[in-house]
Symmetry: C2
Subunit: 273 residues, 2 copies
Amino acid sequence: MRDALRVPAGPVVLAGFDSSARPLAPTKRNRDLANDTARMRDLQAKLWAESTAGGTRSVLLVMQGIDTAGKGGVTKHVVGTFGPIGVQYTGFKAPTKQELRHDFLWRIRKRLPGPGVVGVFDRSHYEDVLIVRVHDLVPEAEWEARYDAINEFEKELVDNGTTVLKCFLDISFETQRDRLLARLDDPEKHWKFNEADLDERARWSDYEVAFEAMLERTNTDHAPWYVVPSDHKKYRNWAIGELLHETLEDLAPEWPRPALDVPALRARLAPPH
Amino acid sequence: MRDALRVPAGPVVLAGFDSSARPLAPTKRNRDLANDTARMRDLQAKLWAESTAGGTRSVLLVMQGIDTAGKGGVTKHVVGTFGPIGVQYTGFKAPTKQELRHDFLWRIRKRLPGPGVVGVFDRSHYEDVLIVRVHDLVPEAEWEARYDAINEFEKELVDNGTTVLKCFLDISFETQRDRLLARLDDPEKHWKFNEADLDERARWSDYEVAFEAMLERTNTDHAPWYVVPSDHKKYRNWAIGELLHETLEDLAPEWPRPALDVPALRARLAPPH
């Protein structure tokens, strides 16, 4: 799956990606798509167990995508198969005043996954070259310098044992319209709706430019980008599940095997008689 | 369930609690016990949704119990039905050197649930009147003062909108033996075994005294204790699930209902022409 979805090096033109495609899907029916969740749970539990014996490896799933792209859905349906032990979710909102007083990575560092943890970023440090760039929230020289800063930051993470899995959830302009209309149709989903979302939608092409720059300039060997076609929700969940599964298989975590003197311990525990 | 498991005011004698009891269980078969997880998920999602609209309420499940009592099992099987969005798990280990340089509540405060979050403490600030007391890790005057400090701390949490649900997972000496032996029988569970666990087990009666003092002296109206009979794993999970369910029903969270001008928003989204 990683080979199929990895962004090739060089310039990125999102129009060249088909958000309704289904690369590697083994069946034509979206509802048939299923990850091997038992195996994934097993691997995640082992990664966590390793950390209790001194292991320091971790995984960080970074999800970016326009509103309604499905970052929450992936969290619920894919990440929800894990944990909760050893899983840490963070949804990054507009930074607080306190956060704005610090470097843009300050609040990110506070939420990095510890040893053995699968961390999930629903939005991330990339907002600082996305919404910030689209709305000119800082001078160009400042956001321009962030691409290199992000690459260095992620290199530091990788060098410290974190596998960084970056997914861009790609949906079409029409798909977003349909999903926003669906939110309006359901009063129980009105809380997810914000009129400002439509103002963001009006800047679709500005966001495309910012996404393209992100996908091109932070597509490193140590932390490559994957573009996940996300018009089909089931496909999107399955594809990101497969990416996570492959990532965990590569780490190949194992149950720690402490050197226990089992007969002696059993003797200490045996019932008196 | 809260009425059935709540610790009565006054002196606590754990020998008077039956760890194999099944209060309120609607059937005689443990495997038939099931929470209404769909409803619980709905309530948890609404609590989280409320926080996105300014709500500040949260829930903190505190679990204490001797090794193998099932704090991890409850997290996996009960808390695992929620989230991961809006759920935060923390397993407290022996404090680090940095943590020891601060007040005992310092590391606890850093992991308190934010608005809308269901926080889970697998061990907690109560370790500072349990293992610390049993092993004389600080002078008696110091741990003695902590009961009042904890009551004040929890009052502060409750006043700030956190419902504190404190569960003591009660198992018998024999149940712990059986579970430790089971860990020895399964090489995949050896990582959970620590020879020091047997030294702790040898201090069972010291722990009973410390548990009794905890249950008596921090059993406040704002944050009462529940003793959950935990010899039967299915019963334990069900009972804590019911406690959580009742807690969430009492909060009665609702989907936020922002005042949206739906026709106008729909018009902005409608396809051209």
